[in-house]
């Protein structure tokens, strides 16, 4: 399967490419109060609102912001919309989906941790909201 690979939280992470709606550049999320610190803000893109999240902070590590990456990965699945800002975008990799579980290995020896939008949403959902 095609897998979209990016770097965040000191790892290579992969999301199945079918969940990627767009790679948007130069997004300027509008910050929203009372949301977890990894929530960077919201953007309006082609008629939809996306919650935009700092991938590094979401995974409990160093922020992905300010690392020169101008792109946000916009995901759409099950009526949900989410933007992820990674440290760096690596690109598309083809991975033999019959052989992967949580970790996949590329030809050049990199280990890619596979995540689903549902995994990301679960982490976000478990965070505290409000005041």
């Amino acid at each position: 399967m095609d897998c979209f690979v990016f770097e965040a939280a000191g790892k290579y992470l992969g999301i199945e490419a079918r969940y990627i709606y767009r790679i948007a550049d130069e997004v300027r999320p509008a910050p929203v109060p009372l949301l977890p610190s990894c929530h960077v803000g919201i953007v309006y893109y082609r008629g939809d609102l996306y919650d935009v999240v700092d991938a590094g902070r979401l995974l409990g590590k160093e922020s992905s912001l300010g690392k020169g990456n101008p792109y946000a990965i916009l995901l759409k699945w099950n009526q949900r919309k989410l933007g992820l800002i990674p440290d760096r975008i690596v690109g598309l990799e083809w991975i033999d989906h019959t052989r992967i579980e949580k970790n996949a290995f590329t030809g050049d020896g990199r280990t890619i941790q596979m995540i689903t939008p549902g995994d990301i949403w679960k982490i976000l959902s478990d965070l505290p909201y409000g005041h």
């Binding site: 948007a24 550049d25 130069e26 509008a30 910050p31 929203v32 109060p33 009372l34 949301l35 929530h39 919201i42 953007v43 309006y44 893109y45 082609r46 008629g47 609102l49 919650d51 949900r80 919309k81 976000l124 909201y129 409000g130 005041h131």
Partner: protein, 508 residues
Amino acid sequence: MDIDKYRKIFIQEAGKYLHELDTNLLRVEKDLPNRDLWSEIHGRIHSIKGMARALSLDTVSGLCHSMEAWCKEFQMGTIGPTADAVQVMMDSTELLKGLVAETAGGSAHADAREIERITALLSKSPEELAHDTPPDSHPVSSPARIDRIPVEYSLVEELLARSQEIILLEKTLPPLSHDQISSGLRSWINRYMSMLRGLHFQLAQLRLMPVHDFVSLFDRTIRDLARKYDREVKLELSGGEIQVDIGLMERLREPFIHLLRNAVAHGIEPPDEREREGKNREGKIVLEAERSGDSLVLKVSDDGRGIDQEAVRRYLKETMGMSDQEIGRLSSEQILNAIVRVDYSSAEETTQLAGRGIGMDVIARAVEYLGGSIAIDSEPSKGTRFVIRLPLSLSIVYAIVFRLGPYTLSVPTAHVASIERRQAASSQPEEALYDLADRLGIHAPAVRPTHTIKLRRRPVQFAVDAIIGNMPLMVMPLGELMARTGSFAGVGIMENGDLSILLDMEKF
């Protein structure tokens, strides 16, 4: 009320369907047993009938109803269509065109004798059709004048997406130094982008209609219902200026017909009875629309006899098999809400006994489909009120947009009593102000607040860093994450494309 507006919509839509009907009849003439085509023909006729009923155009809806009966036979294959039958359908379509044209207020386009002839033909079974109409007597259709362009709603959506794509092109503009770009060109680009954003904002408004336009669709229906049931009824509206997504309103059209019919037929008493009870002879139906948080609340109330709760209890006992104890445990509200249950509402006789007619299931299903809720409140001899709460899918609201800390926030202008500029040495003690910054978790304001905003309905006044302006916002519903805070009413999109978080003032 501007019924003309809805007449125009009817004429436009019916014109489109009639054109499609022509096309399909021409196709089916060459392929008589094609049931799919008959199904399409049926669909167009049904759509015209529905709109005509809403406007109480009885001749049009009656004609459509008769045409539908034939279509059903052809669709099911119980009767084989003939060329004569298709000709009658074509003649009926021409007649419909004339009737629709009359609706536009022009001179009579439909000949009374032709109405009589077609009605007589359609009252027969298609099999009984004799060749009693010589071919040269059929009217020759001439193309209608082109003065409108029907636009699919999906095209509006596509245009919106496309316009935003163009706006996003700005992001791809490479950084150019003063040597590479003249100030004149830079100014031109800025103006161009500003106009594009305005265009996008205006396109988005194609999706909106004010509630009063929706309500005026029913003026004629109420008048006709009042005549039919010998009632005197007037309709009052408040909050008609609220703009609501047309998709939402379309879903509510049929439920509203039922609500109004029930109010007139079963709620409001005959004038003499009202007079005896000391009421005004003229009954009143009030429709109130208001925005509450990220919901649209529609209240439909009448000052009639109210719902007979005893009849509902009897139904629950006799038909639903509930015991006296179980019924006794139900609150008045639960008893009333039982009438919107599908199983209950389909029990025509009982609901009519209870003071409400059939169709409550249609209302309940539509509200459920839209993700809303319905509540009923009724008092004997005082009337009944239905409160329908729906999520606003899209709306335009005027709001005061302001900055507080790193956030761009807004409150609906209707909620604001005043805005005051703060003096350098303000006489107003800080403690008199509601600490909105603290409520929103902003602990280190970067700048000294420049203004205070005082709310209208509640004794709340708070300081803000800067006022951006009073402006229309296209409001989109909250996503799941923002909704969890329980503090926001929606996300507002400004004309320049920037976003603002609309505060739910009920929560502050």
